[in-house]
Structure formats: structure tokens, C-alpha cells
Amino acid sequence: MSWSWAFALEILPALLDGLIVTVKVTLISSVFALVVGLSFAIAKASRVTWVRHPVLLATEGIRRTPLLVQLYFLFYVLPDFGVLLSPLTAGIIGLGLHYATYTSEVFRAGIESVPVGQWEAATATNLSPYHTWTHIILPQALPPMIPALGNYVIAMFKETPILSAITILDLMGEALAQANFNYRYLEPITLVALGFLIVSLCSAAIIKILEARLRLENG
């Protein structure tokens, strides 16, 4: 079998549609994973046991089971209990929640890397817990975390093909649809690989720039 430019060009629009879905899902899931992950991390740092323990249990549970199983659960099992989620919603929640357990570990490590003297100075200057987080702890903890968090965003991006299992027409989903329809895998799958490669390289570069800028701003 030899490479057909004509076929590649023909399926390109569909694949680009898929790529847009993939990027959209990645971005929304990333925001979800970052916000929820940070909340998890703050809850895990809480002195209140009934806040800390349930969150620890939930994050361990999610992190130690496969994403695919969780997606099936959200999309195929929950309807039995009357909860109907669209494929996209289920995908975003599943991917976001799964990676929130990873990002929460990054946040936790970053928060712990802020010297205890900073907490004590915040207390001694009578800052509220909220202001202590927003003005003292997070501004110091976040910049060093950017590379690790960025890597998780790229990892999420690379994991989106799994979402075709719950009928989302992302880049992989579109490619598979085209391949199955035309009985040709070479072009669709090669283009999928290329698409992922290009976007991954670009995002890695963006993360580098972001990190450099944040370091500069924080002196």
C-alpha cells in the first residue's frame, strides 16, 4: 500500500474538525483538572479531618483505577441511575477528574515547598486564611509548578483518543470513522500522529515561555 495524497487531502477537513474537538476537550478538561486539583490540594492540607479524609479517599480511588473504566462508568453506568451526560460532558468530567488527582499532588508538593516561616509571618501579620493563600502561599508555590502542570496538560491531550470509546468524535474518532469507511488506515492514522506531534510541540514551547515570564514577574 502506498501513500495517497488525494485521500489524505480528502479526509483532512474532517480530521481538522476532530482536532478542534480534541483541543477544546483538552483545554476545558485542563481548567477542570487545575481548579479541582487545587481544591483537592487545599482540602488535603486542611487541619479538619472530615475535610481531609474524604478527599484523600476519593483522590486515591480515582487515581488508582483506569481512566477508561471511569469513562464507561460516567457514560454507560450513570444513565442506569438516571444521570444522563452527553459524551462531551462525560469526557470532560472523566478526563478532568482523573487528572485532578495528579495535579493535586503537584499542587500539594508545591504548597509544601513554601517555607513554614511564610505561614507564620502571615499569621503574625494577622492575614485571614483566604489572604494567606491568595497573597502569600500560592504566588510563591505556583511558578515552580508550571512545568509539571504543563506536562500533565500535554499528557491529557495525548490521552484524548481514549474518548472515542464514549463516541466523541475527536481527532482519533474522526480518523477511525474515515478509516473504517474507506478501509485505509495509513493516511488517517499518520495524520493523527502528525496532528498530535505538532500541537504537543507548540504547547511545550508555550509552557516554557509562560514559565519564564512568571519567574520574571515574581522577581
Partner: protein, 299 residues
């Protein structure tokens, strides 16, 4: 337990004297209650305070009180509990027994629906408003400029507008001789400069009580003097109550009008510096001072 009047003093707390401005030389221990019939309320009172970590007891039934405006030096061998006392006052640690009163109000307990319970975070925050602390290792906020370090808390705790906070910060930076460093980040300062910023930061909240924990022991010897002279000025020009933990006996002697000598969490000796340093009652105090002198300090 304290009478219910202990909990009613929130308002009068704000009538505190100004720290900057007119010099009030030699105004130590000015009583702030004008009623002569009422005995003066101690600004700090430890009532049988206990502190332990697990089975390891650091303080056991420690009781003492401090009059408003007193300048206290806490001295004693390493591990005797001096830092712990300051950290309990700053609520960085919680007592495991007994009670601490600040200006007659309980620090570690509060009254809620007729019951005396452990102090809540809200209660602690109200009480902390009276107290400032300067740390051995400065603990400046490294991501904030010198000016921001000093203005941050007054603005965030809504005590001052941005403009007022800035004005006060410049007054205080002037006092500690650092107006020219206002826009620098802490990383660019010497240790002595950092510690002077930390002092300005603590003063920006106008505390009634200032806690100083070995504030020069992390400094190069040639930088000690600039920090001590700021403290001496503060001592002479304000009527803040000051608690100084130090290993510098000659400074303790100049600074304090009362010295507490601690050993293993107990007050062994309590009196004016002339007495403690020249004719202490206890052999243990004498042997501590001998060791200090042997280590090269002038007493």
C-alpha cells in the same frame, strides 16, 4: 475562669497609643487605665500554662504576668522554652493546659452561647490584632517589595486605605532607615536590612505587644548594631509592651526593665536587670551567666 467582663474589651483595644510621631521618652509602664481604684489589668497573663508535644512537656503550670509598657527580656539556656512562650502568644502554637490572657481577655478560649470553648479562628484573629512578632529568620515575603511587605497586612486587614498604608509604611521605613529600599525585593537586602524591614512590617499593624525572638542571631556580627539601635529607639519612643528573647546579655541589660531567667520551662529568676546580672538569688542563674561570660560575652 475569667469573669464575663473579660470578653467585653474589644472596643477599648483600638484606643492604642501611636507608635510613630511624638517621642515619649522614658514613658515605660504608663498605666492605661485611669481608674485608680481598679488594679491595673496585666497586658499579658499566663495562668498555669502548659505546653507539651505528645509526652514531652516543655511548659508546666507556668504563671507570670506583664504590665502594659514593660520591656521584658527572656533569657536562659537553649531549649528552656523561651521561643515557645512567644509562639504561644502569637498563636503559632496552642496551649495544652491553662490559659493566656491578653489585656484581660482569654487568648486560647472564648465564650460561645454561655459556654467556654477553645478559641475559634475568628477569635484568634481578633486577639492577634494586639500582637506583632519579629522572627529570627525575618520571614519576609520574598515575592513582595519592601514597601509591599509593610503595606500588605494593613491593607488586606482593611485597617488602612492603600494611601494611608503607604504613608505609614514610609514613616516606618524612615524610622528604620530604609526609605531608599522601598522598591527593592528582599533578596537584594543584607540581613540587617531584612530584619529592619521585618520590624517595620510588624509595627505597621500598630500592635500593643511586640515579640522579638533572637532577632540578631542570624546576622553577621557587623550588622547586629543597626538592628539593636532600631529596637532601642522603639523602646524609648513608644509605650509598646516588648518581649525580647535573646542570648546577648549586654543588650538584655540595656533593653529590659525586667528580666526573666528560664530553665526547663520554669522561671528561676525574675527581677530588674541590675539584680539578675549582678546579684542573682540562685546558683543556677550564676552558673548560666558564668558560662555566657566564658563564651566571650560581656555581662
Amino acid at each position: 475562669m475569667t469573669s464575663s467582663s473579660s470578653y467585653s474589651g474589644l472596643e477599648e483595644a483600638s484606643s492604642k497609643p501611636h507608635l510613630c510621631g511624638a517621642a515619649k521618652r522614658g514613658s515605660a509602664a504608663v498605666p492605661h487605665h485611669s481608674n485608680p481604684d481598679r488594679p491595673e489589668t496585666p497586658i499579658i497573663e499566663f495562668r498555669e500554662v502548659g505546653k507539651s508535644y505528645g509526652t514531652f512537656t516543655i511548659l508546666d503550670k507556668l504563671s507570670f504576668s506583664v504590665r502594659p509598657g514593660e520591656h521584658l527580656a527572656l533569657i536562659g539556656p537553649s531549649g528552656s522554652g523561651k521561643t515557645t512562650i512567644l509562639r504561644l502568644l502569637m498563636t503559632l502554637e496552642t496551649v495544652t493546659a491553662g490559659e493566656i490572657l491578653i489585656d484581660g481577655r482569654s487568648l486560647n478560649r472564648e465564650e460561645r452561647s454561655g459556654k467556654i470553648v477553645q478559641a475559634s479562628e475568628a477569635h484568634l484573629r481578633r486577639m492577634r490584632a494586639e500582637i506583632g512578632m519579629v522572627f529570627q529568620h525575618f520571614n519576609l515575603f520574598p515575592h513582595k517589595t519592601v514597601l509591599e511587605n509593610v503595606t500588605l497586612a494593613p491593607v488586606l486587614t482593611s485597617r488602612l486605605s492603600k494611601e494611608e498604608a503607604k504613608n505609614r509604611a514610609f514613616e516606618l521605613l524612615d524610622k528604620v532607615g530604609l526609605t531608599n529600599k522601598a522598591d527593592e525585593y528582599p533578596a537584594r537586602l543584607s540581613g540587617g536590612q531584612k530584619q529592619r524591614v521585618a520590624i517595620a512590617r510588624a509595627l505597621a499593624l500598630q500592635p500593643k505587644i511586640l515579640l522579638l525572638d533572637e532577632i540578631t542571631s542570624a546576622l553577621d556580627p557587623e550588622l547586629v548594631e543597626e538592628v539593636l539601635s532600631v529596637i532601642t529607639d522603639l523602646r524609648n519612643e513608644t509605650n509598646m509592651t516588648m518581649l525580647l528573647v535573646t542570648h546577648e546579655m549586654s543588650f538584655a541589660k540595656d533593653f529590659a526593665d525586667r528580666v526573666l531567667f528560664f530553665e526547663q520551662g520554669k522561671i528561676i529568676e525574675d527581677g530588674p536587670p541590675a539584680k539578675i546580672f549582678q546579684e542573682p538569688d540562685h546558683e543556677r542563674t550564676r552558673s548560666f551567666l558564668r558560662k555566657v561570660i566564658a563564651a566571650g560575652q560581656r555581662v
